[in-house]
Symmetry: C2
Subunit: 159 residues, 2 copies
DNA sequence: ATGCCACTTCAAGTCGACTTCAAGTCAAGG
DNA sequence: CCTTGACTTGAAGTCGACTTGAAGTGGCAT
């Protein structure tokens, strides 16, 4: 498979795949001329990476979850930890969602008059104990890779 | 109140407050020399901002939720929309959490052997329909503002 | 054999929300 | 009056995950 094929199947732009390879997250089995050749296993690997990202791990952390020879070696305790963290996050989001949902239908003339809203405000204002200063951006939800590397080279000529 | 006082009470670094003022999110009621003077209302405002951020709005979007004269004007439909989005996100996270929690205790020798894990993988690999390409970073969870602007000016002398 | 152009590389740019730096100002205390 | 130093400013830097641009390469069809 060439990079475009992998990109299509994984729903990722080719540029991302090159970036991942550069980061050591994936490997090509060789080259055909300049062009990378991938074997089908890379798709599973990419799925694993996507999963890690969705779970909130950074690319570097995900990279650390593979043995040097390329097989996944997943620490069960890390998973449990992350599951707990997700659980916390979920609880906060649920509270937020409920608060917003209420505020959306609240009859109070101003939201500041609504007790529910004020409680929400308190929750937002007070520091949440667990959390890192630099929050990880969430994974970008595989796009249908429109265009990206498919830019035609020199259609309008005078580039 | 001077900026340090506001920073302390809101649990935000002073640099953030200056940044917020620059962005038009908050306003000082005047100056004492060079120094900003804030009135107490700014705290409620900051709480509102924190709430908006927690709900996933960007600073610009939050800014748009205030009238030019500075009172909050919150669109109930926007809240409802965001509540729904949060709900979706919550569902995804719950699935993820459950998957991770299972994987953490799964007896299969390799996670790739575990059907639950494989399903998780499928979910992560397949595109999630709703979502923007550029995900918003999550709000940073008000720190106890250790240090930041409290850098001593010239303690070690030779600055 | 030749030319096209899809791929390649490497460096630099982007995005959002801040933080950090260097240099400047000024209210207040001695 | 003069120093002190906490504040000020504007510009630049940071972080992570990519994207984009310009310039180069080479497999394949003609």
């Amino acid at each position: 498979m060439d990079i475009v094929e992998v990109a299509r199947r994984a729903g990722l732009p080719a540029s991302t795949l090159r970036y991942y390879e550069q980061k050591g997250l994936i490997t090509s089995i060789g080259r055909h001329g300049l062009r990378r050749v991938f074997d089908a296993g890379v798709l599973e690997r990419l799925a694993l990476i996507a999963l890690g990202r969705a779970a909130g791990f950074s690319l570097d952390e995900v990279a650390a979850m593979f043995t040097p020879d390329g097989r996944p070696r997943i620490d069960r305790r890390k998973l449990a930890t992350r599951a707990k963290q997700l659980d916390l996050k979920i609880q906060r989001l649920v509270a937020l969602r409920d608060g917003l949902a209420h505020a959306a239908v609240c009859p109070a003339p101003s939201h500041l008059q609504c007790p529910t809203f004020r409680r929400l405000l308190q929750g937002a204002a007070s520091a949440r104990p667990a959390g890192r200063a630099k929050p990880r951006p969430e994974p970008p939800a595989a796009r249908s890779h429109k265009g990206s590397t498919r830019r035609r080279a020199g259609a309008t000529g005078h580039a």
